[in-house]
């Protein structure tokens, strides 16, 4: 996220580069955003060639239009929205799953004195990992998520877009972002847990 003043100047960068035929300015935008757009595309589109084509088409749309419509809070949000349009991410289900993604059998039963607390043998195990193993597991886990949740996680936790920017890209209210974010994060934690959890029981 950048300050509103800087964001306002940056919104016009591509249009101004076109008007001035300023190739260097365009390359600067390209180098800043292309890898991020590709990373976004990859979590939704499994085929690498298709993901690259999606990003290319998004750039061509940006060159055609020059600048985001007034409703867009930032250049980054607009570029991600162009990728999002090309990806055709399925719309939000009428009643999407929310809450924590965890096996309810991990907790003591309602009839137990400790209802809702971790069962002793279900306490999460430590992860045996280094940062590379964790990143690898995370990239695999992201691609296995429902596309909309993966897109939300990338925009919020990887790209650190704010709520307004995410609304502009995904068309999702802030309340829904918060509800789905928790569900998506806990789904991803579970995916990491399945790959990284120690085989040694927790103490």
């Amino acid at each position: 996220m950048v300050t509103p003043l800087v964001a306002d100047v940056m919104r016009q960068t591509i249009a101004e580069a076109l008007a001035r035929r300023d190739e260097r300015a365009f390359v600067s935008v390209l180098e800043t955003h292309h890898g991020r757009m590709l990373r976004f595309a990859r979590v939704v589109e499994q085929d690498e060639g298709v993901a690259r084509q999606v990003v290319k088409r998004a750039w061509l749309a940006a060159l055609r239009d020059g600048a985001p419509p007034d409703a867009f809070p930032s250049l980054a949000a607009w570029l991600f929205s162009l990728v999002h349009e090309e990806l055709r991410v399925p719309r939000l289900a009428p009643s999407p799953a929310t809450g924590t993604d965890v096996d309810r059998a991990s907790f003591e039963a309602e009839s137990d004195r400790w209802a809702g607390h971790w069962r002793d043998d279900e306490v999460p195990r430590a992860w045996d990992d280094g940062i590379q193993a964790r990143r690898h597991a995370l990239e695999q886990g992201l691609r296995a998520l429902p596309p909309l949740l993966a897109a939300l996680l990338v925009l919020h936790d990887v790209e650190r877009l704010d709520g307004l920017e995410i609304t502009a890209v995904l068309g999702m209210t802030r309340d829904m972002q918060v509800a789905l974010l928790h569900h998506a994060r806990t789904m991803l934690r579970r995916a990491l847990d399945e790959r990284l959890a120690s085989t040694v029981p927790s103490q």
């Binding site: 580069a17 390359v27 292309h34 991020r36 590709l38 809702g116 607390h117 999460p124 990887v158």
Partner: protein, 85 residues
Amino acid sequence: VSAFDRRCDDVLDVMTTYLEGHMPPDEHTRLETHIVYCPGCYRFMDQLRATVETLGGLPVEPIGAAERGELVEAFRAAATTAESP
């Protein structure tokens, strides 16, 4: 406040609210008290935080020469079109 006056399954449900700093102060204190004494929730929170931190540290791949060349060509064509009357 007892560390276990909240159920673990309820504590898990508000962890993102906590991590995002959106939790009211009194609830914040109750949650932290629970987590300090509960190994399961402590580890779950630690792993959730690690997941978010790892997401934030994913590297960005630089644009390849061929793609860059193609898009610069597209820029030149668009700039020429924009200039035409």
